[in-house]
């Protein structure tokens, strides 16, 4: 019986260890290239990789149709596309809905003027280290993640706009593009 108790104690310690140690995520911080992602378009076609958009500033936003702050950020992203598309900004909304039909229904009701891609396996979100919804990653013309923004509050839009304008004004440094 003592052996049994020892086994039970061991199991308990293991369970506690699993509880205390959170799963490790590859975490993007600062000027690093974004991970390669296998994303699809709404009609199931494979989307191009970030490297295909070299020389452009890419605004990658991870969202889901059930997430109210994500939806609140849509008018801002629409405005960004209107104002900066000509200057080289590419806004991409990466959808993380578990049921893709939810996203499709949402987009029928609320059409957008920026690209929306699907992360079916959620591998892209894992590789980016998404820990909040929405999460925004701004990739500069050299293909480096220059800014990570989590959540969306109306007061923070001006700061983001300024950063995007600053990144759009920068020149491409050849050789840095991956």
């Amino acid at each position: 019986m003592d052996r049994l108790t020892k086994v039970a104690e061991l199991v308990l310690i293991l369970a506690l260890t699993c509880l205390v140690i959170p799963p490790s995520f590859a975490h993007l911080e600062g000027d690093v290239p974004p991970p390669h992602c296998k994303l699809t378009t709404l009609d199931g076609q494979n989307a191009q990789d970030w490297s295909a958009l070299k020389g452009e500033v890419i605004y990658v936003d991870f969202w889901a149709s059930w997430c109210p702050p994500c939806i609140q950020s849509f008018p801002f992203m629409t405005q960004l596309t209107q104002d900066f598309k000509e200057k080289g900004l590419h806004v991409i909304g990466v959808n993380l809905d578990e049921n893709q039909q939810d996203a499709k229904n949402f987009l029928v009701q609320h059409p957008v003027n920026f690209s929306v891609l699907m992360d079916e396996t959620k591998q892209c979100a894992q590789d980016f280290g998404v820990i909040a919804m929405p999460s925004t990653y701004i990739i500069d013309k050299n293909g480096l993640v220059r800014h990570i923004h989590r959540g969306f509050r109306a007061g923070e839009t001006e700061e983001l706009r300024q950063l995007i304008e600053q990144l759009l004004a920068e020149n491409v440094t050849l050789g840095k593009i991956n």
């Binding site: 308990l12 959620k122 979100a125």
Partner: protein, 72 residues
Amino acid sequence: MKLLTFILFLLISFLLAGCVNVAPWERGILAKPHMAVDPQPLQSGIRQHNYGSRESAASTNSAGGGGGCGCF
């Protein structure tokens, strides 16, 4: 007694195994309004107000007045 301890340990282990980190993109169902602790906050508020104003004296649950005046 030892058997009881063993069963207790095992039970706690199984319960703890149920605690997992839910990824942000897996919270769609949890985000639904009916999954909230109080799924109908407006109804609860009105009920609490009725209770506070009609049934009880001034307390943290009442709208302030208390005393059963029935004021809305």
